[in-house]
């Protein structure tokens, strides 16, 4: 079977599947990410967007864990003027703190708004799939901590891996596929209500 995510190199292509049918919205991934990566107060590398919809008694609370999508064609890597944003052979989009000058161009160009200015370092920071843990053969901390195994991490090039099997057999979607960034974070059971932007503007031809 041909694998659409096969990269040129024989290295693994790391990706994540988030099964929203399993997510219970406990925010553990958020907390453990902060501990693992020493993320200061007020900013998040990964968080769980939470919405309520419906009218009683037909209601649901829907969740969407959010993190850097580690796009196959990352806009941030293209726009970075000093090559601080770069993509590893295994697809993880990294940020080199030795090069980053904190110009924030990548922040304003990222369609997923997952980057932030680190308040003390003065440079940009974001999720890196816990690259040091991955290099050591471990899972990213959010995956390991998830109590309901909603986050699954693995090699998309390996058709026997759990992530590849889930993408092949379930209705998996990515965020904003129309931009052409080809995200490598997949969602199963994505609720369209969690994708809705908080509307601040009412169109004049809207009822």
């Amino acid at each position: 079977m041909s694998n659409p995510h096969k990269t040129k190199s024989d290295l693994p292509r790391w990706g994540m599947v988030i099964d929203l049918d399993r997510c219970v919205g406990c925010h553990t991934c958020e907390v453990v990410c902060k501990i693992e990566n020493d993320v200061p107060l007020g900013i998040w590398r990964s968080w769980v967007k939470e919405i309520e919809k419906g009218t009683y008694p037909d209601v649901i609370r829907a969740f969407r864990p959010t993190l850097c999508n580690h796009c196959e064609n990352p806009i941030c890597v293209k726009v970075c003027p000093v090559n601080a944003a770069w993509q590893r052979e295994d697809g993880i989009v990294m940020l080199d703190p030795h090069l980053c000058v904190g110009c924030r161009y990548c922040m304003s160009a990222c369609p997923y708004e997952v980057r932030y200015v680190h308040p003390t370092k003065g440079m940009i920071d974001k999720c890196d799939f816990c690259s040091t843990r991955v290099d050591a053969g471990l899972q990213p901390s959010c995956v390991e901590a998830c109590p309901s195994s909603a986050r699954i991490f693995g090699d998309l090039n390996d058709s026997k891996s759990e992530v590849a099997k889930l993408i092949a057999t379930k209705a998996a979607s990515t965020l904003k596929p129309e931009i052409g960034t080809a995200p490598r974070v997949y969602y199963i059971g994505l609720d369209v209500a969690t994708l809705e932007i908080k509307r601040e503007v009412k169109l004049i031809w809207e009822k």
Binding site: I43, W44, W47, V48, K49, E50, I51, E52, K53, R61, A62, T66, I75, K78, V79, C80, P81, V82, N83, A84, L99, C100, V101, G102, C103, R104, Y105, M107, S108, A109, C110, P111, Y112, E113, R115, Y116, V117, K121, G122, M123, L175, I179, D191, V192, A193, T194, L195, E196, I197, K198, R199, E200, V201, K202, L203, I204
Partner: protein, 299 residues
């Protein structure tokens, strides 16, 4: 449809300092254009403004990068890294080189102009024009290539930036030439022919600028939801006072009317008012474009 219980939204990334940077490079590019009209293209009537134009262009281009250095997290590292770690895909990468080359060329051009070496002045003036276009056009590209934002991501953005640069540069030159002639010359007489030509040029450039704004918004209002939203945000939402009233009415339409009505154009009071209003309008345009373009959340 749903009610958001918890979500994270980040701060506005590029804000006022970047707007001031765009404004200063715009003024610089505009005044450089005026100075090359006589020495580069042989339009003799603009000659009295040439020397002032190049001096102002250099001074503003020295001021402009200071705003950038204040904006970035690591100013000194950024100067070094921009030259050493060049990324050919990033428009901002080219900016560092343009911001070096353009003032250097302008200084050489200015020196030859003050020495009276017409041939060399013409050569460096003509080299300077593409550089001036690039140094301001690239700022438009920076925004246009921020593909996440619908307000920025349009091919018109560099052209809109160039026209607003020329417009604001001419307004500034009108004010400076009037002030120089009135207060710093022996005759204390304003060169009416020059001011009149500059005012007419300003009027026609304002017509093009307004047409570009109309093109941009007519497409945004027909485009996808995010684009419609940002257009509504500008036209009817929180930004409407600044965009509609200050930028377009006070900054462009009223000055255009003033310079196209011959009686008003002849009056220095109205002309100064038009130039001041236009300069304020273009400054607001920079802030509206940079800040307003990213004010709405993406996710």
């Amino acid at each position: 449809m749903g009610k958001v219980v918890f979500d994270v939204q980040y701060q506005t990334t590029l804000a006022f300092l970047i707007s001031y940077y765009f404004y200063c490079t715009g003024l610089s590019a505009g005044s450089f254009m005026i100075s090359t009209l006589s020495y580069g293209f042989g339009l003799e009537k603009f000659k009295p403004a040439s020397k002032m134009g190049v001096v102002v262009a250099v001074l503003l281009l020295l001021l402009a990068p200071q705003f950038l250095l204040m904006q970035v997290g690591w100013p000194i590292k950024s100067v070094w890294n921009h030259f050493v770690y060049f990324n050919p895909l990033s428009s901002m990468s080219y900016g560092a080189f343009l911001l070096m080359l353009y003032p250097m060329n302008s200084v050489v051009y200015g020196i030859f102009m003050f020495q009276g070496n017409l041939k060399m002045t013409k050569i460096f003036g003509l080299i300077g024009i593409p550089l001036a276009l690039a140094v301001h056009g690239y700022t438009g590209w920076i925004l246009a290539l921020g593909v996440a934002r619908d307000y920025w991501n349009t091919g018109l953005m560099p052209i809109v930036f160039l026209f607003s640069a020329m417009v604001s540069g001419i307004s500034m030159m009108i004010l400076l030439v009037m002030a120089r002639d009135r207060f710093f010359t022996k005759e204390k007489v304003i060169n009416h022919e020059l001011i009149d030509s500059l005012a007419k040029l300003l009027g026609w450039l304002l017509v093009v600028d307004l047409f570009l704004v109309f093109c941009d918004y007519s497409v945004l209002l027909y485009s996808k939801l995010e684009a419609q939203e940002v257009a509504h945000f500008m036209l009817f939402g929180k930004m409407s006072f600044w965009f509609v009233i200050v930028e377009n009415l006070i900054g462009k339409v009223i000055p255009m009317c003033i310079v196209f009505i011959p009686g008003m154009r002849k009056s220095y009071f109205w002309l100064v008012l038009a130039a001041v209003m236009n300069m304020i309008g273009i400054l607001v345009m920079r802030i509206v474009t940079v800040y307003g373009g990213q004010a709405l959340p993406l996710m």
